[in-house]
Amino acid sequence: MNLKLKIWRQKNANSSGEMVDYNISDVSPDMSFLEMMDVLNNELISKDQDPISFDHDCREGICGMCSMHINGRPHGPDDLVTTCQLHMRKFKDGDTIIIEPFRADAFPVIKDLVVDRSAFDRIQQAGGFVSINTSGNTQDANTIPIAKENADKAFDAATCIGCGACVATCKNASAMLFVSAKVSQFSLLPQGKVEAKDRVLNMVKQMDEEGFGNCTNTGACEVECPKGISLENIARMNREYLKASIKD
């Protein structure tokens, strides 16, 4: 297929950037989206031009590194997949594809399509963990009874790969889906309950300090999340946050 690409180019964090048009030919429908980008970059390099920077790592949908806002949607037109799992067969010959970085003030552009998502790391550091004494007398996890329903919900929440698509698609650039998944994956389990109160207060505080917007329950995050993280987690986090604030 032959495609027309409109891609955001930006030299560095301080320059202003613009959309630049590229044409690419002989794209195989079996290519992944990132392979198509690789081919384009090879062409640019052979013409002595600056290749387009974009984030990626595992290329199998597990690391959360790839991003890109493709034709108006984070991770592109397919549901429940990351950009690295998106295939060119989702597009037609002659299509124009608009490719932009994830946009949010809390995710500043570093170069081209690469954005700085370290705000998520700082939120995690504020409470997204369980403190355990690993001195040798740690209790075997299998001896702690956990209701199947809760184990399943905690597992679902834990499948969040921290890609930031929820922020990218939200009209308010809110990080609530991500943070609520990270809060829920622990608070649903007995191991995580001990620190649950501080966790939710600290993580939400950090989230607010990073400059993400306020959730207004539009539900776009849930639709665009490549891992299908449910909005239910946001209600759970609100509930826990309220309980923790009242008890404080």
């Binding site: 409109k6 959309m19 806002h69 034709n71 108006g72 949607r73 608009i98 932009e100 946009r103 949010a104 003030d105 809390a106 552009v109 698609t169 009209k171 308010n172 650039a173 809110s174 939400v204 505080k205 989230m207 607010d208 400059g211 993400f212 917007g213 306020n214 959730c215 207004t216 329950n217 539009t218 539900g219 776009a220 639709v223 665009e224 909005l231 239910e232 946001i234 209600a235 759970r236 986090m237 609100n238 509930r239 826990e240 946050y241 309220l242 604030s245």
Partner: protein, 215 residues
């Protein structure tokens, strides 16, 4: 005003739910005007003269309305500034139009409230507390019918209620999520909330048109 994003949401939700309670009460009284002039006059006279309603509930209501839309403005400004560089193209397929435009529907409702205050509340206050006219328990029905003579006003009222309906269709369900309700009753709540959001505004439109045609 409130520092935490979640508490802002909760404040928005609680004030919204409070306004919904008020709306239910207002609707019930107005609806009596369709079938009983006498009952409507009696209820209005009670609401208009009862000191508890006048000096406690009414100020709380006014505070509630102002709080809700001031918070709404703050929320909108904060949320817009969380993404200063916009996308050149963003698909709208992942959320409903109304959920993205709560502020717009809110402003339509606010402009309606402006007219509504000018129509009913300002004359009431003037009548009772500025001109100190003698109370006439029969006057309310006449005043109501008189307001709905003008087709322009009926049209504007009706359009505003359509936006109220849209605002509530998202807002009512959303407010439960905001305060953390998510359990086996959530689906029932959602159905009831949507029914309320359609029936009550439609009912208000019906009342306006009814008096326009019969008045």
């Amino acid at each position: 005003m409130i520092e935490s994003s979640i508490l802002r949401k909760v404040a928005m939700a609680l004030s919204g739910l409070f306004l919904i309670l008020f709306l239910a009460q207002h609707f019930t009284i107005n609806f009596t005007s369709v079938f009983s002039e006498d009952l409507f006059n009696k209820l209005s006279h009670f609401m208009g003269t009862n000191p508890l309603v006048q000096f406690i509930l009414q100020p709380i209501l006014i505070f509630g309305v102002i709080f809700h839309f001031v918070m709404g403005f703050i929320l909108e400004i904060k949320n817009r500034s969380a993404r200063k560089v916009k996308y050149s193209y963003q698909s709208g397929s992942s959320s409903s139009w109304i959920s993205r435009n709560m502020f717009f529907s809110g402003v339509v409702i606010l402009s309606f409230l402006g007219l509504h205050f000018y129509d009913f509340w300002v004359p009431e206050i003037k009548y009772k507390y500025i001109e100190f006219l003698p109370e006439d328990p029969e006057r309310y029905y006449e005043e109501l019918v008189h307001k709905f003579h003008s087709p322009g006003r009926v049209a504007f009222y009706s359009i505003s209620f359509v936006f109220l309906s849209l605002h509530l269709m998202h807002g009512f369900v959303s407010s439960f999520k905001s305060v953390g309700v998510n359990n086996k009753y959530s689906n029932t709540i959602k159905t009831m909330a949507i029914a309320f959001s359609v029936i009550v505004p439609l009912g208000f439109i019906f009342i306006a048109i009814f008096h326009h045609l019969n008045g």
